[in-house]
């Protein structure tokens, strides 16, 4: 029988028994009437003789229904009663629901981000949070990819239940002007089986696509690309697409939920790894050998641990395998070992730069929820005190304490449920907004699973239950322990004072935690400020960047040189352009761009030294266009081309490390990768190459016409204004080649602000948390002071009758509030001092104990506690002594 059938049955039983009792009373009344009583007296006598009608009914019914149904029905009744009671004080209810919604909503947002970064990083992949990724690690601790031969060894001899390789990156889809740049993955044949991803159309890639280089020119599309670029064409299978200008046959469309194996990248096309040479994918300009070269670490090897296996054991076994590989096929001058990382530490994707910040926000969010609970705790406690009369009456009428506890707990649950629901709604509005903001800034297509799924709902339910336990159960325990005698006397003295102390402690805790939150957000804001003011070594204002790639349009190297030379000449000659140049990569890329092994003439490398340095390929005028200062020597000139002698420019850090001074570097020689020896002709100032908080590091610039490549960025600086400059650059590109797609066009400032976006986001989230916390703590202080003022009305009356002035009274209550604020702030100060050192990695340009941040937070906390205490103190002082004395 279902519960609802039970309820219906129960109602029938009730009606039946009630009618039986009515009949009993009628017969008894008739007998009394026969004895001579008048009808009314007879009726009353019958009822009196019968006893407790309600109890008889309940006991009779219990013979028929199960305990479970009874208990549930009772709870339903309690809920109905609770809703009724709470509807009578809508102010209280709305405040509680609102506060909870904010607290839970904030946490739901942060949790969703955390889930997407670490717990369920790959949408559409079962158990993706438990995947590991094998990478190689250099002596200097830098993480690099795994080569294809090493991947094969891992797959066949590794300690894993499964291993699949992938090389994610930007690929060009389509030809000529229809071409666009998108995220793609070159994957091993078992990739889809490993990920457990099926095709919604056609087939996925299979191990049979990984037999020989270039043998299987096929591709699988993502659902997004299939719909976006091919209008969800049901006959897509068998059609040809061009990836990096190479024709591939579409064999399938992957499942809707799958977005590739890199967090936040919306990977749209999957190609067999064996097609890498055909697509022109090269590792550090060493084409051809890619699939046989143990040096070419271009893969991430995703792996699943064996059942019962741990990451540590797999790591140890992988290290053994790595030694074995090194012994079998030693790599001269490259010293790398295989290392196993949890997927949350995979080297690509949003988790690399977002996870620490989001984890910090999560910790702060939980602190906020604690404040929310402490605040509600206080509110519920006060409500409990004002309801002591009702509770005492219930106890006196024979209700058990458990019953009352249940009622109070249900009342709080009735508040938590809509609070949590509102929090979820809040999160589901905030998340798409954040997503849109983020994807507008992102470089490639961006995918972040922002749906509020079962995991998020579960988290919210858990948070709600814990909150309920904390702020619902504890005060209910206290409230249900009513001392009947003291209620009768309406004296609040002893217990009232004890509760006052308890509430004071709650307020102190709130103030302390909010100080901690404010200090943290202050530190991050100051970091952001410092980062924005910081001299990054270049000037991005007024500079535009336009990215093109020649290879998909069939250019060879010679034609490429001509094209880029013409493009440079035209852009430089255009109106309003001061200077222009080409570059292979931007400054402040957020994640490291390409690195190359750099050899310094006459320098013996220490065994633990990492000689892999970031580099850029630029033309003449690059340093002038980006206003990067020249410390010594000269910048590249148009004469540094194929016919000139081989040259390089290095940064100050590299020059100082190997030759002592910038001037000392001029004329010395170095070699990048396997290229020729180059003479250092110039030393330029350091730039922030990837992140704002990176330490100074060596950097090499190569002249474009001595190391040409197909994809370059055109930088132009001029007085014409960004929009005009961008338009002009587009026009110049298309005048040279109407079929060449523009892959990216934006201002350099837009590009570099991306690197700050994480810091900006963290600062915003933390500031929101901090101010919410402070507002809540102020509410707590306000509530406490106004409550104690109300309690002391009588006392105020006496004091004023005895000659105390209003300002005496104000001072008295103000002092109470401020005193709590001071204690809380002092404790919060200690806590902040202990905690903020963990933030150090997220900070830039300020120390974790930055006095300005601490002082500002302190002033803010004390100011708002005083403000929160002043209003109720003022109200208390306006009490009319005569009314106060008559009170009670």
């Amino acid at each position: 029988m279902t519960f609802f059938q039970w309820l219906k049955r129960r109602r029938e039983i009730d009606q039946d028994i009630a009618e039986e009792i009515r009949s009993h009373l009628a017969m008894a009344a008739r007998d009394h009437a026969a004895d001579g009583a008048d009808p009314e007296t007879a009726r009353r006598a019958a009822v009196k003789e019968f006893g407790n009608v309600a109890l008889a009914l309940e006991d009779s019914r219990r013979a028929w229904t199960s305990r479970w149904v009874e208990a549930t029905a009772d709870v339903l009744k309690d809920i109905r009663y609770a809703v009724h009671v709470l509807a009578k004080s809508p102010g209280f209810s709305l405040v509680v629901i609102g506060v909870l919604a904010l607290g839970i909503g904030m946490n739901a947002v942060v949790f969703t981000l955390l889930k997407d970064l670490a717990l369920k990083p790959l949408p559409g992949v079962e158990g993706s949070g438990r995947l590991a990724v094998v990478m190689s690690k250099t002596k200097g601790g830098r993480i690099a990819g795994v080569s294809y031969p090493d991947y094969v060894a891992l797959r066949d001899q590794g300690p894993f239940a499964g291993v699949a390789g992938s090389s994610p990156g930007l690929l060009n889809l389509g030809l000529k002007r229809q071409g666009e740049r998108l995220w793609g993955e070159l994957v091993t044949g078992n990739y889809f089986q490993f990920m457990g991803v099926h095709a919604q159309l056609g087939r996925t890639l299979l191990p049979s696509d990984e037999t020989a280089p270039g043998k299987d020119p096929v591709a699988v599309l993502s659902n997004g690309l299939w719909r976006r670029a091919f209008g969800a064409d049901p006959n897509i299978i068998g059609k040809t697409i061009h990836v990096n200008a190479y024709p591939l046959t579409v064999v399938g469309v992957a499942d809707k939920s799958f977005h590739g194996s890199v967090v936040s990248w919306d990977v749209e096309v999957f190609v067999p790894i064996m097609m890498a040479p055909q697509l022109g994918v090269a590792f550090q300009n060493r084409p051809g050998k890619l699939l046989h070269d143990r040096k070419a670490g271009f893969l991430a090897a995703y792996s699943r641990l064996r059942p019962g296996g741990t990451l540590e054991r797999a790591s140890a076994q992988t290290a053994v395998l790595s030694k074995q590989l090194a012994a079998d096929q030693p790599l001269e001058d490259v010293d790398r070992t295989l290392t196993v990382l949890p997927i949350s530490r995979a080297p690509w994707g949003a988790q690399t730069y977002m996870l620490p910040a989001i984890t910090m926000c999560g910790a702060m969010g939980i602190l906020l929820l604690l404040i929310v609970c402490a605040n509600l705790f206080g509110l519920v406690l006060v409500r409990g005190i004002s309801r002591r009369g009702e509770i005492a009456a219930r106890l006196a009428l024979g209700a058990s304490r458990i019953r009352i506890l249940r009622l109070l707990l249900i009342e709080n649950a009735v508040l938590v449920a809509p609070g949590a629901a509102a929090g979820l709604v809040l999160a589901s509005f905030a998340l798409p907004w954040m997503n849109t903001t983020a994807s507008a800034k992102a470089l490639g297509r961006f995918f972040f699973d922002i749906s509020v799924d079962r995991m998020v709902v579960g988290f919210v339910a858990l948070a709600a239950c814990l909150s309920l336990l904390f702020f619902g159960l504890l005060p209910a325990l206290r409230s249900s322990k009513v001392d009947l005698a003291s209620v009768m006397k309406d004296s609040l003295s002893a217990r009232g004072a004890a509760k006052g102390r308890f509430r004071s402690a709650l307020v102190v805790a709130q103030v302390g935690i909010s100080l901690l939150l404010l200090v943290s957000s202050g530190l991050v804001w100051r970091s952001l400020d410092a980062a924005q003011r910081l001299d990054r070594g270049f000037d991005d204002r007024g500079v535009i960047s336009v990215t093109v790639d020649l290879k998909p349009n069939g250019y060879d190297e010679a034609r490429g040189r001509v094209f880029y030379q013409q493009l440079l000449d035209q852009v430089r000659g255009a109106q309003g352009v001061e200077s222009a140049s080409l570059a292979a990569t931007y400054p402040m890329t957020m994640v490291d761009s390409e690195a190359q092994r750099v050899e310094i003439e006459g320098y013996r490398v220490r065994r633990d030294e990492d000689q892999m340095f970031l580099y850029n390929v630029v033309t003449s005028d690059y340093f002038r266009t980006l206003r990067i200062g020249i410390e010594a020597g000269r910048e590249f000139t148009p004469h540094d081309d194929a016919s000139g002698s081989q040259v390089a420019v290095v940064n100050e850090t590299l020059a100082r490390r190997f030759w002592g001074t910038p001037r000392g570097a001029i004329g010395k020689r170095l070699r990048a990768g396997s290229g020729e020896w180059r003479t250092v002709v110039g030393v330029v100032r350091d730039v922030k190459y990837a992140r704002i908080n990176e330490a100074p590091r060596p950097y090499v610039y190569l002249p474009f016409f001595q190391a040409p490549r197909s994809s370059m960025i055109v930088h132009a600086r001029g007085s014409a204004g960004a929009v005009a400059l961008l338009e002009q650059a587009r026009r110049e590109v298309h005048r040279l080649d109407p079929d060449l797609p523009i892959l990216d066009a934006r201002t350099l400032h837009e590009q570099t602000s991306l690197a700050l976006s994480i810091l900006t986001m963290t600062a915003r989230i933390l500031a929101t948390l901090g101010f919410m916390a402070m507002a809540l703590a102020s509410m707590g202080i306000y509530g406490l002071v106004s409550y104690s003022a109300k309690q002391s009305t009588h006392e105020i009356g006496i004091r004023m009758a005895l000659g105390a002035t209003r300002s005496d009274v104000v001072r008295r209550f103000l002092a109470r509030g401020v005193w709590l604020g001071v204690i809380g702030a002092a404790l919060g100060m200690g806590a902040s001092y202990a905690v903020t050192r963990f933030l150090a990695a997220q900070l830039y340009g300020v120390s974790a104990t930055d006095p300005a941040s601490f002082a500002t937070a302190m002033a803010f906390v004390l100011g708002s506690t005083a403000a929160a205490a002043v209003a109720p103190a003022w109200r208390a002082a306006r009490t009319d002594p005569m009314t106060a004395l008559r009170y009670q």
Partner: protein, 124 residues
């Protein structure tokens, strides 16, 4: 009803379980409604045993649930609608069992209270 303070002291609390037996016994003479059952027990015990309505109705529900009595709405002689309880064959057997158990209990208590008296047989 006139107040009779001494009467309530003279009343005896029913032992747990005996109410069921008394109800079954009362129903032996034919179907009766709750009020009549209470009145009969009171009259037959010469006012010593008074059945609380708060115990009687739950007890009747219990007996009905176990299948020892069946209930049916009907009219009384005074034309009042009332629920009549009727003993089932199962209920009759149960009454016999309870009566014999009760007899043993009384005899045993009797032996304890009057140890010198010779043991007497159990009367049905």
């Amino acid at each position: 009803m006139a107040r009779q303070p001494s009467e309530s002291e003279a009343r005896i609390e029913l032992l747990q379980g005996t109410l069921d037996m008394l109800i079954l016994r009362t129903l032996q003479w034919g179907p009766q409604h709750g009020y009549a059952i209470a009145q009969t027990i009171r009259a037959q015990s010469t006012d010593v045993l008074r059945v609380e309505a708060g115990s009687l109705y739950p007890a009747l529900q219990r007996l009905a649930k176990r299948g020892w009595v069946t209930a049916k709405w009907d009219q009384t002689e005074a034309n009042q609608r009332a629920k009549f309880y009727r003993l089932t064959p199962e209920g009759k057997k149960q009454l016999v069992r309870e009566q014999s158990k009760w007899g043993e209990l009384v005899a045993a208590i009797g032996r304890i209270l009057n140890p010198e008296a010779p043991p007497s047989g159990v009367k049905e």
